[in-house]
């Protein structure tokens, strides 16, 4: 029974921090909230026994990407005053759109699943590193290698784009 309660707490916490990311005026604060959201999502992975993914998620997302964001934020020295604020109407339409999206997706999933009945996990081992590693290096080894090319491309792109031009454009 306690798992039920814990999961509800975790779920609501994630949603709350996600909302805070969106609503906070201060960009740095929203980055921090985002990190907390990732942390809570990793906890959900753990609940579902997807340990490998939990760890990878923490390392890649919270660790690497958020650091980058923070770094860029600090680089551009953004703060609350120069934060561009959207018009009331734009925010209102966005809210309406997001809400109707939520509703639509819920109705879509409503009668497609066996709701309510708690699901038994068929194979506990599935989330573990040994299992996933085996799968990764047998069936998806090609895809794995291609990711390396993707990374190289991203790096080259990032460096090229961010490098300072020879002559400074006023």
């Amino acid at each position: 029974m306690s798992l039920q309660i814990i999961s509800i707490i975790l779920g609501s916490l994630t949603l709350a921090t996600a909302l805070l990311v969106v609503l906070s005026k201060h960009p740095v604060r929203s980055v921090i909230y985002l990190v907390v959201t990732f942390f809570l999502i990793t906890s959900m992975y753990i609940m579902m026994n997807a340990q490998f993914l939990a760890i990878v998620n923490m390392i890649v997302y919270a660790g690497a990407i958020m650091v980058l964001f923070l770094f860029v934020l600090m680089l551009l020295n953004l703060n609350k005053e120069i934060e561009p604020v959207n018009t009331r109407t734009a925010q209102f339409t966005a809210l309406i759109a997001g809400g109707s999206l939520l509703l639509i997706l819920i109705t879509a999933l409503k009668d497609t699943l066996i709701l309510g009945e708690s699901f038994r996990q068929k194979n506990e081992q599935i989330g573990l590193v040994k299992e996933l590693g085996n799968l990764l290096f047998t069936k998806y080894v090609v895809a794995f290698e291609i990711t390396s090319i993707l990374f190289i491309a991203a790096m080259v792109g990032a460096i090229l784009l961010a490098k300072r031009e020879k002559q400074i454009i006023e």
Partner: protein
């Protein structure tokens, strides 16, 4: 062993996260926050993938999540470098400033 809660709880959280990410992307005019919201939406999808993977007991979905993370990382780096270059040009990262691509 049972997860304890029912499947739809996780699905609901994922959908809510996705919707919040969408709202954030639409409302916030700061490019970086925009990128963050997109990251949020990506994570929502990953969460749903993991849920179904554990439900059906098949590891492929989780591998897929792994690859989405790879892509998310690459995308974030390139996105941020674009933001830096954009900032260097117009000294602002307000999305609406950059509308020269219209007709």
């Amino acid at each position: 062993m049972s997860i304890g809660t029912s499947l739809d709880f996780f699905l609901f959280v994922a959908i809510a996260l996705f919707a919040i990410g969408a709202i954030g992307a639409m409302t916030r005019k700061n490019m970086i926050v925009l990128l963050m919201c997109i990251e949020l939406m990506l994570n929502a999808v990953n969460l749903m993938l993991v849920t179904f993977s554990t439900y059906y007991g098949n590891g492929d979905a989780q591998i897929f999540v792994f690859f989405t993370m790879v892509v998310a990382a690459a995308e974030a780096t390139v996105g941020l470098s674009i933001i830096i270059m954009a900032y260097r040009n117009l000294k602002s990262i307000d999305i609406d400033m950059y509308n020269q691509l219209k007709n």
